[in-house]
Subunit: 267 residues, 2 copies
């Protein structure tokens, strides 16, 4: 049976609210996801929340009913509450009907089966949670296997990144590695590493992209370090016809990823 | 000669800070842009600020020196100040060295020369300022003529949109129109209207895109209204191989825009 919480000073509410901070996420190994769409996608991908908060007046919604039953069956904590508490937990003006608390997971590089997908995304020192979440969403769309985070990236389990991923956080493998470790692993098997770079001499439509292709995107402001570029198999650039010299990092990744996918679709 | 302001309660500081709110931007017809890169790009595009704030210790930077001289020559108000005031104006933790106050401008549809570019972007009810700014940045990159805003879009002159545009706000034409007005104008000349839609039967790489092509992207959550889709010449969709059914709106626009550009590049 769901329990009920309607008090703002409740310890559980305070604890879950603290998961909006990275420090508390690391301590607890938990993160927040909100909204019917994202929680339903998580369930479909095989992930149930350890705690499920839902608004009392949404209990009869078929997806909410299903999430409640599944979470209880899995031994999770199901909590009926009020919109004001959901607002407090999510920080959003118009809180979603459901919020789930999930266990963080990270896949070690050694556990990645690179042959399971034709495209892998790699982000280096990505600082914007919206960009990181958007890259996960794009990765899902192009059938990528996952996202490998290099150096000091923003936390993929932040509320903003989870929101921008639109549930792809649950379907994409996420790994974290230092550059040397990533390159060492990459070279133990097939895989072409393509960096997008202002210093590239190749137009991004020139090369033939083998399977799997690893698409590497650098920090929003600085791009890729020169020694990382030197480790790439290919450096490519998109045509830039205007005054600006670069695209938004998540946009550049998507334009590259669809080019690789389009080549693979042509066979 | 620049004047100096170091007091937080200064009327000019209060007035400029208020430009972070849409209401005050509309009243004054002014907006904020920050950072050397964006202000330099504005100058290159022929736009100087009506007011220029710069940090005292950055006055010797060659771009700052040039901006000060150009703004004074054009009769603008040049103000030397301190980092704390720049922080107050921009709302950013690490404020940029310069902040400019610019006059808003809007181009009426009737003044748009559609033949001046092969691609035009059209956004319908776009709600996220980051998405809108990113669309402007992508438009600049693909050589688009500008962005036409339909229905209730987020303000392109908001601090977040200006920031995400990375200066493209100054190089892209921006127009605002109701749908009926836009369609009436569109049909007075050449131009193919392509909507991205989940309901499309055509893969986005199938059609041949004439010049100019107008790329229409709908609201982040709801997509395009059915009657707007009915007015399009073509509805297309990107392949979606994963669990999600859509891309981020700015990403979808960019993937489409690069497809059109790539076709045009092939001749």
């Amino acid at each position: 049976m769901p329990r009920e919480i309607t008090g703002f000073s409740n310890e559980t509410v305070k604890r879950v609210r603290s998961l909006r901070d990275k420090k508390h996420r690391r301590q607890e190994g938990l993160f927040l996801a909100e909204g019917l769409r994202i929680l339903a996608e998580a369930e479909e991908a095989g992930f149930l929340p350890e705690m499920l908060f839902y608004a009392r007046d949404s209990a009869s919604h078929p997806i909410v009913t299903r999430l409640i039953a599944a979470t209880e069956a899995a031994g999770g904590d199901v909590i009926e509450t009020i919109p004001d508490i959901l607002h407090k937990l999510s920080g959003k003006e118009n809180p979603q009907a459901v919020i789930g608390v999930y266990r963080e997971r990270a896949t070690p590089l050694s556990a990645i089966d690179r042959a399971s997908a034709d495209i892998w995304l790699v982000a280096q020192a990505m600082r914007d949670p919206g960009n990181l979440g958007t890259m996960l969403r794009t990765g899902d769309a192009v059938g990528a296997g996952g996202l490998i985070l290099i150096d000091d990236c923003v936390d993929p389990f932040s509320v903003e990144a989870v929101r921008a991923s639109m549930g792809a956080l649950f379907t994409q493998t996420i790994a974290t590695a230092r550059w040397a470790e990533f390159i060492a692993w990459l070279r133990t098997g097939p895989g072409t590493l393509v960096g997008t770079s202002l210093n590239a001499s190749h137009d991004y439509q020139e090369p033939h992209y083998p399977r799997p292709t690893f698409i590497l995107t650098g920090n929003e402001a600085r791009g890729l370090p020169a020694d990382y570029e030197a480790d790439c198999d290919l450096l490519v650039k998109m045509p830039m016809l205007g005054k600006a010299d670069s695209l938004n990092a998540a946009v550049a990744t998507a334009v590259m990823a669809y080019e690789v996918l389009n080549q693979h679709r042509r066979g």
